[in-house]
């Protein structure tokens, strides 16, 4: 098991380097024109621009810039914003707690609701309850999060006037409810669909027949024998869902004026602040890599076949 953990962790390093390389290419190589000039505008004089370029290390050869860039990432240095001149990592550190708060609440709701609904549906497939749950799940994966967000605002903030329209509210939980629901719905829907189909697949397995032939009650068969096996693929889905969720935070934060990393990224794009864009994207990718590592490791608990590999 320990070898497994170490091996999985080591395998993440080349991925990280790959991610850094692509980000580097995107922000320094493929950008048409001079980014510094774009920020400073047409009227800035050459000398100022050149001094900024110098300060940013943009006048060095690309290969030097690249190695410097990758090395700095491993030291936790994501560069400085063109706009504010502050280290990107500082801005992220300021904004990330809000994003984390939103993301974790959304995911927690999604996992609880999704798995419960999936099990209920799988146990009584093609029943009325299953029909309702799966129709809702279908709507859930079809509705764009920003649209759902706006609808929630219209209903709960504008018409019923029981929850705030948006903003962080200094950590007031009432400000969290709508964004978390908006962000979590699609994930809940996907998890519910996956749980259902995985559960129905597992229920057809030979070992479930064995369990029934032992005289176990249907409850034991489902919750002890089927569920743990069925959750193995669901965990994979939760892992990939977290990627959508991280992307979804950008939209949700914009919809609800939530002061997180996602909104910061959008602002950075609009002001063409490349180190900032690059830093946030890279940061989110690293978070995602770590999450997937944790997900991979959690297989070990669910599936002894991996533990003893």
């Amino acid at each position: 098991m320990l070898t497994y953990i170490i091996r999985r962790s080591i395998m993440a390093v080349p991925i990280l380097i790959g991610v850094a390389t692509i980000t580097f290419l995107l922000t320094f190589v493929f950008v048409p024109g001079d980014p510094v000039r774009m920020i400073m505008g047409q009227h800035a004089d050459e000398a100022t621009i050149d001094s900024i370029r110098d300060e940013m290390g943009l006048n060095r050869p690309l290969s030097v810039q690249y190695f410097d860039f990758v090395l700095k990432i491993f030291k936790g240095d994501l560069g400085r914003s063109y706009k504010t001149r502050r280290p990107v990592i500082e801005s992220i550190a300021e904004r990330f707690p809000a994003t984390l708060r939103l993301g974790l609440s959304a995911m927690a709701v999604a996992i609880v609701v999704g798995i419960t609904a999936g099990i209920v549906s799988a146990v009584k497939p093609y029943s009325v309850v299953d029909g309702i749950f799966m129709s809702l799940a279908l709507l859930g994966i079809s509705i764009p999060v920003f649209y759902l967000g706006l609808l929630l605002i219209v209903v709960f903030a504008v018409n019923l006037n029981i929850l705030p329209v948006g903003g962080f509210g200094g950590g007031d939980i009432r400000y969290l409810i709508l964004p978390a629901i908006a962000l979590g719905t699609a994930q809940a829907a996907r998890i519910a669909r996956m749980t259902r189909s995985s559960m129905m697949e597992v229920i057809r397995m030979d070992y479930i027949r064995t369990a029934r032939s032992k005289g176990l009650s249907e409850k034991t068969v489902i919750f002890k024998h089927a569920l743990r096996n069925a959750l193995i693929p669901v965990i994979t889905v939760i892992g990939t869902q977290l990627g959508y969720l991280l992307g979804g935070t950008v939209l949700t934060e914009t919809t609800f004026s939530w002061p997180g990393v996602g909104r910061m990224a959008v602002d950075a794009v609009q002001s063409r602040d490349f180190p900032m864009i690059q830093g946030t994207v890279l940061f989110m990718a690293i978070i995602f890599i770590v999450i997937n590592l944790v997900v991979d490791l959690s297989y070990g608990w669910f599936d002894p076949r991996i533990r003893y590999e």
Binding site: T3, I6, R7, I10
Partner: protein, 321 residues
């Protein structure tokens, strides 16, 4: 009789990767130095339990898998030395029939196009008219009709599909056919139909067979000579009556005594082997059978037995013989 196929010291080790950096940390010794000949016009049976390497052997001979070492000669030519193009030509003479009649035919092609493809690969068609005639002729040869050519594999039963597989092989007019468990997925009553077909074809076309199977009764029925494999080695090989009446290797003896005989009046002394077949990853030292052998001695653990010839065409690899 002329030797059509000569296999010498053939080995296949599949690497196992693992550890921190995914380096090779071991090998599955699937086939570990086997030698045998197949003579023109005969059927050599290759028997053994799962994991003994018999199916791998078949694929190595056809170079569907590349051997680790050893030599395979067909009609005197070393086929391991052939380049891609030469090998492609050689494939016309050496064909294979598979175990699973459901997996061995492309579900999206009609039976006709499955057979035509074989003809086309080796440019065996003179013109377009020739195609239909040949396909019908081949189908009839295996007991089907020309009308079947337009149908898809899923419309046929297991036994019929196996016949289609045989027709595809016959299309290129091979000299040797490697039959890899060709009847083990079939029901008893259908098994007999396919076995009879294979025997008829052998007689009519002068085919040579390497017949790989785990069912000793079937192998005895169809073979001239039989080789017994255990954990990547051939432990005994002889003319079939000699082998079945006078088995010398303890594994052969146990294997024969383990077969349930469809006759309740026959009462035999059973040799029940202890334990399971060891893993081919780290096979036992010395004689590979010593962990389960009722007669094992010290020497069996230490030294690998050499192959001894103990009679006309009867060889065995055992210290105690």
């Amino acid at each position: 009789m002329k030797k059509l196929l000569e296999v010498k010291d053939l080995k296949k080790y599949f690497p196992i990767k693992g550890g921190l950096f995914g380096r090779q940390i071991g090998a599955v010794k699937a086939v570990d130095g086997i030698s045998f000949d197949v003579r023109e016009g005969e059927t050599l049976g290759l028997v053994g339990e799962s994991g003994c390497g018999k199916s791998t052997t078949g694929r190595l001979i056809l170079r569907l898998i590349d051997p680790t070492s050893g030599s395979v000669k067909f009609g005197g030519k070393d086929i391991l030395a052939l380049d891609k193009n030469q090998m492609r030509k050689m494939r016309k003479d050496m064909q294979i029939i598979f175990q699973d009649p459901y997996a061995s035919l492309n579900p999206r092609m009609t039976v006709g196009s499955i057979i035509t493809e074989a003809l086309e690969i080796h440019n065996l068609l003179k013109n377009k008219n020739d195609k239909e005639t040949r396909v019908h002729q081949l189908l009839e040869q295996v007991g089907l009709t020309g009308a079947h050519a337009r149908r898809y594999p899923h419309e046929f039963s297991g036994g019929q599909r196996q016949r289609i597989g045989i027709a595809r092989v016959l299309a290129v007019d091979p000299k040797i056919i490697i039959a890899d468990e060709p009847v083990s997925a079939l029901d008893v009553s259908i098994q007999a139909q396919v076995i009879n077909l294979l025997q008829d074809l052998q007689q009519d076309l002068g085919l040579t067979f390497l017949f790989i199977a785990h069912d000793l009764s079937v192998v005895k029925h169809i073979s001239n000579r039989v080789a017994v494999m255990y954990l990547g080695n051939i432990v005994e090989m002889a003319e079939k009556n000699e082998l079945y009446n006078n088995p010398r290797h303890p594994y052969t003896q146990a294997l024969l005594s383990a077969i349930p005989i469809a006759d309740p009046t026959v009462k035999r002394e059973r040799i029940i082997l202890q334990g399971d077949v060891p893993s081919p990853i780290n096979p036992p030292s010395g004689c590979r059978f010593h962990t389960r052998c009722p007669y094992a001695r010290d020497i069996c653990k230490k030294e690998e037995p050499v192959v001894k010839t103990i009679g006309e065409d009867h060889i065995v690899a055992c210290h105690l013989v």
